[in-house]
Symmetry: C2
Subunit: 241 residues, 2 copies
DNA sequence: ACCATGCTATTGTATATACAACATGTAAGC
DNA sequence: GCTTACATGTTGTATATACAATAGCATGGT
């Protein structure tokens, strides 16, 4: 594969630091001559490096090593049941509440519904090998998911159900450390209050906000792991909008 | 742009759900005929959709709508100083400790150094508009960053300094909720113990582990925000390896 | 000094062609 | 029935060519 050969060569120059940020990269024609390939092949190598964010291309000007974007890392948030099964542990869930309630103002706002709308509400405790590791307190938009209350959430988690029912398009997360409320302590079978990692998640479908969930995990039994590779500051062209 | 026209058309089919997961996509030749373009142009449209993860291509078999990958989200972890400046707030830092110490066994292991090696150690409190929002307790590999102790970390944060000095290649993070130690409470000017969000970060350069940092944030004054878009289950070809 | 013009290098788009590598279904042979 | 061989369709790689769009520089006119 000739184009890959060129990519590797450029890769080495950039990763070794021999070519620092903004250093010009040989042009398509130059690479074609140097590696004895056609311009289209050289072009492909540069194009793929640009897609990967290692270089920035500029019509009329040339190709340059992309500036480092050091200050951001990506962390993966998984579905709790998946995470537990991934560890080859046993997962089971207990449905503490599954009801229709009048949305509090903050919840109504979060779901982008009028004040006082009645919404679905569920509270489910998730267990890993018999220990409570998450209480999932969730409010759901009844217009988008009418049959929510009829589900058996000991089988599939609400998140899995929502993924199936509506084409989820986006989600936002917020993580903080809190002390659990008395009620949360009960749901988590905690005898003493201990710091908890709390994830707030809002999910969207094309038609609006689907759900607002508060996931509370005892600090002693839950960690959020992540891994990151430093990337470069290329504006990845968004697929659409 | 003809190739973009084709992309848009396919995009609509997929996003609307008209073509569900695993549904076959017209072949390059078919698209070329349908849109009255050359195969190379049709190919580009399919290739870019594959790069974006919307379709999966299979030599000899065809192109298919990619399966949804619902259960993972990406969270962004930023440098604290950047985050504060992004909010247009005032950031300043106080160096509590900057010293050479003998690495404890766990630290030595984490830095992949022999037991008992002497390493650099710094403790810095970060303030946002005068309020302590993070205490950064960091151990640094002295072989990779010999001049660490001579820096003025009230100007540039250690993370920024390390990014400049060594080409950081990877990092791993772990997040948990904890109660701060008495010493951490002092560094954070906390009168009462309150739950803290603790991020443990290890950073690598090509030559090994550069640093191990424990970042502790008072739960009442810190949140980790993230945003996610649901993607599809395409194995993005890693740049190298 | 300043501005306009045009030249050149570079990347972007589009096409035509050839062959390689692979998957899958079909037909032939046993 | 089973396996093998082949034909066909598909994606992957590589090349040659043409023209468009842009950036940057140089030249020359005012």
């Amino acid at each position: 594969m000739k184009y890959d050969h060129i990519k590797q060569a450029l890769y080495r120059k950039i990763e070794s630091g021999e070519w620092p940020e903004h250093h010009p990269v040989s042009s398509e024609n130059q690479l074609a001559k140097d590696f004895n390939v056609s311009r289209m092949t050289a072009r492909r190598a540069l194009q793929e490096l640009a897609d990967e964010g290692l270089v920035v291309r500029n019509r009329g000007a040339g190709t340059f090593v992309a500036p480092l974007k050091s200050q951001s890392a990506l962390l993966t948030i998984r579905n709790i049941a998946d995470e537990i099964r991934l560890r080859k542990h046993r997962h089971h869930a207990v449905v503490q509440l599954l009801e229709e309630v009048e949305a509090e103002p903050s919840i109504a706002t979060s779901l982008e519904l009028p004040q006082g709308t009645r919404v679905w509400h569920s509270v489910i405790t998730h267990f890993e090998n018999g220990h409570a590791v998450q209480v999932e307190d969730r409010y759901v938009n009844p217009q988008l998911v009418p049959d929510y209350l009829d589900q058996d959430f000991t089988q599939a988690t609400p998140h899995e159900y929502l993924c199936e029912m509506t084409p989820l398009t986006q989600a936002s997360h917020m993580i903080e450390a809190v002390l659990p409320t008395r009620q949360q302590q009960i749901w988590l079978s905690m005898s003493m209050p201990e710091p908890c990692l709390q994830v707030q998640r809002r999910t969207w479908s094309r038609d609006g906000v689907v759900s607002h969930a508060v996931l509370t995990h005892p600090g002693s039994r839950f960690r959020l792991g992540g891994h990151m590779t430093f990337t470069r500051r290329t504006p990845r062209s968004k697929p659409q909008e």
